[in-house]
Symmetry: C2
Subunit: 249 residues, 2 copies
Amino acid sequence: MGQRITTAQPSPVKITCNHCSLSNLCLPLALDDNDVNRLEDIVQQGQTFNRGALVFEQQAPFKSCFVVRSGAVKTSVITENGEEQVTGFFLPGEIVGLDSMSDDIYSCTAKALEYTSVCELPFSQLEHLATHIPTLQHHFFQLMSQEIKNSQQLSLLLSKNSAEERIASLLLSLSSRFKRRRLSPTHFNLPMSRSDIANYLGLAVETVSRVITRFQSQGLIKAQGREIQLLDIEALQAVTREFSKCRPT
Amino acid sequence: MGQRITTAQPSPVKITCNHCSLSNLCLPLALDDNDVNRLEDIVQQGQTFNRGALVFEQQAPFKSCFVVRSGAVKTSVITENGEEQVTGFFLPGEIVGLDSMSDDIYSCTAKALEYTSVCELPFSQLEHLATHIPTLQHHFFQLMSQEIKNSQQLSLLLSKNSAEERIASLLLSLSSRFKRRRLSPTHFNLPMSRSDIANYLGLAVETVSRVITRFQSQGLIKAQGREIQLLDIEALQAVTREFSKCRPT
DNA sequence: CGCAATCTTGAACACCCTCAAGCATGGTGG
DNA sequence: CCACCATGCTTGAGGGTGTTCAAGATTGCG
């Protein structure tokens, strides 16, 4: 499968968290200057991963969570049947590894979908710091709670919604996350393959392809490989709520 | 819908967490005696709820998490379409409300499925205590991480598995949770309706009914309304891994 | 330029849903 | 105490959405 070549050289210049372009998305968001400095002391910056490289692997000893700084990461688990199940996609400013804190091993594999840089948060040090900085603890509780909610949202999507609704939801989710990152919410490149999308959404690759084609012929989007333009966001939002249309009233 | 009569009278005798029958499942599990006493000071025991009563309601101000002491609780969210989506079932020793900590309001509704008693954990006090008791903080990180994992597990079930696999998985999950609670893992009453099961597993009620009937005729279980006996656990486990059978090798 | 991987398109089938009706169950009031 | 009704559960028939299988088109990279 993917190449496992990992370049783990620290970047020459250490950027402070305060001056990081993600400071309004990431942990500093919740901290004052003094506390950010203490956080900086434990954060390991500058690790980078080529496309296909593993940030961490399922079953390996759990050591750290990772904040995506640039690029994109996919998490997946290998089931008892040997099948891969994609559990999430992580964009800059988002934290990977929160699901592995209840065990001594990573509960999933995290793979870079493109050239990606991360900040490493060694968990035991982070935990120690959190007891001294209540707002950091509070922020982490919030992050984890949000992660539970996200995962519930996915379950909801999978259990109740049609293929079209699932794909429209994913596109809109990516759109709003790019927007937060100050990137275009209407014109972006998908970091993941059709196959990853299908796996994540519980669909066959063929279905993903068909739905994207259909959206395109309806004028909702323009898709050229991984390059996506959202042409009619309101219509896409309508698709995600489509099945209320069934009820007459 | 369900009656909302809530009896919130504290139980006459305050049982200490140390002497609670759940002390090996619940929070004291991770704490020493001294810390358990500090925990006890903030825990509000003895609230009870009749069948159908709401422990808390979606959108209400978030104040506390709740540990189920006896009975069972169902959580659900109302979607934009006005549909109900069941997000979880909680048995004694399990904590409800971890998904609401990232907001000021409850992100779901928690309803008692039968006569239920709970312990209330006021969140702000709990958070404060956690900064003073590192093992408590650690334990909460673990609980929340586990909750993320559980929810991912559900997504996996919903996205990849057939109706039979989903239902077998639920039965086995309940079985092992009853077992942990020192109840029979092979003979129990379902606290929830077929309709709740169907909703939770993303199936139609009819499908749930049919699969249970099929399991019965195959001699895997015996079902009489909500009374369930698991007759062949190994065969049920085989069902949950059924689809690896597709691959020849 | 050519091969491999990814993506698209088509046709047939399977699983599960919907609709519809019949059957238990249990709580309520006469 | 039993009839009654509401609710929940079961069973059957038909149809739709998405899967599977198969083949062709496109892309990307050596």
